[in-house]
């Protein structure tokens, strides 16, 4: 093997370090630009002003109520999508007739942007949390469903024949044949769905006005509370980072047996 292998020590430490340097540099840049007048300070508050408002924010109980509402809507929407996507995906994928009958409908419904449904949910449900939840579920359901469908279609034909000749029942086939093949696909779908769900949660709160951090951003915006608005935007960004970290960690745990995570070359 003449290929260059990255040195394990430096390779593991430097991305984190470089990432931190990048973040600090970014923060410093937006501290300096408004101060020297390159950016108008009225509309681009300095990093320190945003941080100060952020620190004041986390001491308010109202902030944590909104935080809970946003995370709650996100988690509930994601859970409904994941369960629905997994169950429907396995059923539709396992039955060729169903798959053929639904594929055109799925391909028609899937590209409809969730935000296009905003007028509909306002008429049906008003501006409550349930309106945003509908948008979240609608947007995050499809990635899960489609990935599960791909996963079920990827079942090894020989394994399928083997399961048939061993006369495995439908439940056993799901458990020992479909599930292990589908899981890596499903986990990818769930990771995609997690970020889509967060985007739609904030969008729904922002545009419809259902309670949560998105609504608080809108309130700060329409109250001319500019630094507070930026602080809230940063918080939603942090939620996104946290959500991504959690889903990636879960992915590693669930798929620790899978070659893609073990890092070994499959035989």
């Amino acid at each position: 093997m003449t290929q260059a292998v990255p040195k394990s020590g430096a390779g593991a430490a430097s991305p984190v370090l470089l990432g931190l340097i990048g973040l600090v540099g970014f923060a410093a840049l937006f501290e300096v630009l408004p101060r020297i007048g390159v950016l108008p300070a009225d509309y681009f508050p300095t990093t320190s002003a945003i941080a100060a408002h952020g620190l004041a924010l986390v001491r308010q109980s109202a902030f944590w109520v909104s935080f809970g509402q946003t995370v709650g809507t996100w988690a509930l929407g994601l859970a409904i999508s994941v369960v629905g996507g997994l169950v429907l995906g396995v059923i539709i994928g396992a039955v060729p007739l169903l798959r053929a009958a639904t594929s055109s409908t799925i391909e028609f419904l899937r590209p409809i942007p969730s935000v296009a449904l905003i007028p509909l949910v306002i008429v049906l449900l008003g501006t409550k949390m349930s309106s945003t939840l509908v948008l979240v579920v609608y947007a995050s359901f499809w990635p899960v469903l489609v990935q599960v469908l791909y996963g079920v279609a990827d079942v090894d034909p020989i394994a399928r024949e083997t399961a048939l000749s061993f006369r495995l029942g439908p439940l056993d086939r799901v458990r020992y044949l479909i599930w292990p093949t589908t899981l890596p696909y499903a986990v990818t779908g769930i990771r995609l769905a997690a970020s889509v769900a967060l985007i739609l949660t904030i969008t729904g709160e922002l545009v419809i006005g259902s309670p949560g951090l998105g609504h608080d951003i809108q309130t700060a915006y329409s109250s001319n509370a500019v630094p507070l608005m930026y602080a809230l935007v940063v918080v939603t960004g942090l939620i996104g980072v946290a959500a991504n970290l959690v889903t990636r960690m879960t992915e590693r745990r669930i798929l620790r047996w899978h070659p893609s995570v073990r890092g070994e070359v499959p035989v």
Binding site: L88, V95, L98, I122, V123, L206, I208, G209, A220, N224
Partner: protein, 320 residues
Amino acid sequence: MTRKLLALGLCAALIASMAACGSSTPATNATATAGTPDKVATGVIAIVDVAPIYLGKQKGFFSKRNINLDLQTAQGGAAIVPAVVSGQYQFGFSNVISLLLAQSRNVPVKVVSNGNNSTGDPKADFGAIVVKDPNIKSAKDLVGKKVATNTLKNIVDTTVKNIVQKDGGDPAKVNFVELAFPDMGAALDAGNVDAIFVVEPFLAAAKAKGWRVIGSYADVDPKLCVALYFTSTQLAASNPDLVKRFTEAMKESLAYADAHPDEVRAVLSSYTQITGDTAKTLTLPKWPADIDTAAVTKLGDLAVTYGLLTAKPDLTKLLP
């Protein structure tokens, strides 16, 4: 064979569950059962104008009339009107022109209470035209210029057109640009527009920058009615008692807010982020308890003049 049967069974189950989903939307209605307070959802916008309803709720003006008021903030009339008409909200807050436009398109809305009005003082109103360019001395200089409005063909551009016309300019030659109130200051600063029409708290921020006011709501009519509270014609017909109690509670709230500006300034922080000095110094609108029919009629006439409406609105049907 069993597989095919299973598939058909699943198909049927799927269709059945989809049908169940479709029909499970409950028809929630705030019909009164004696003794328990009516839960009344009201759609408002988180702006200074609706302070009386928040204050009135705090003071118990609604609960003493057996109304459990649930204030829901929406992002604007575009969300509130459909939600009121579909029964998701029992009442809503909207500007006068939007309601006139809704009525002209046969949207079943019925006004139940006054909202807010101009202060009557052109020098100190809560919504005004602001300019930065020293060459724009009065409203007629806006001819051929770009003016920011929050919504095209609505109350703000109608106001600006009328002010320009009264000042001797041709209102048809003013170019309007649609911008949200919070973005207007930055647009004027950057020179993207020549004038902006802003409401509080952005008006206070614009004045603090040293920009000049060249016209306001009061220039159209000292008693100009800006917004109203409304319900659906369906609720107005089916539950006149609830509408009557809501109207009475609103009247008391409006009168109280108008008489207690300090309490209004304090209540702002409960539903907006307007705090500190801004809350203490911004110009509050007037909150007369009764609807000024003459002022609403005038706006209706202006809407016809500037082509928003094709016919004179039937105010006897819209107003209570």
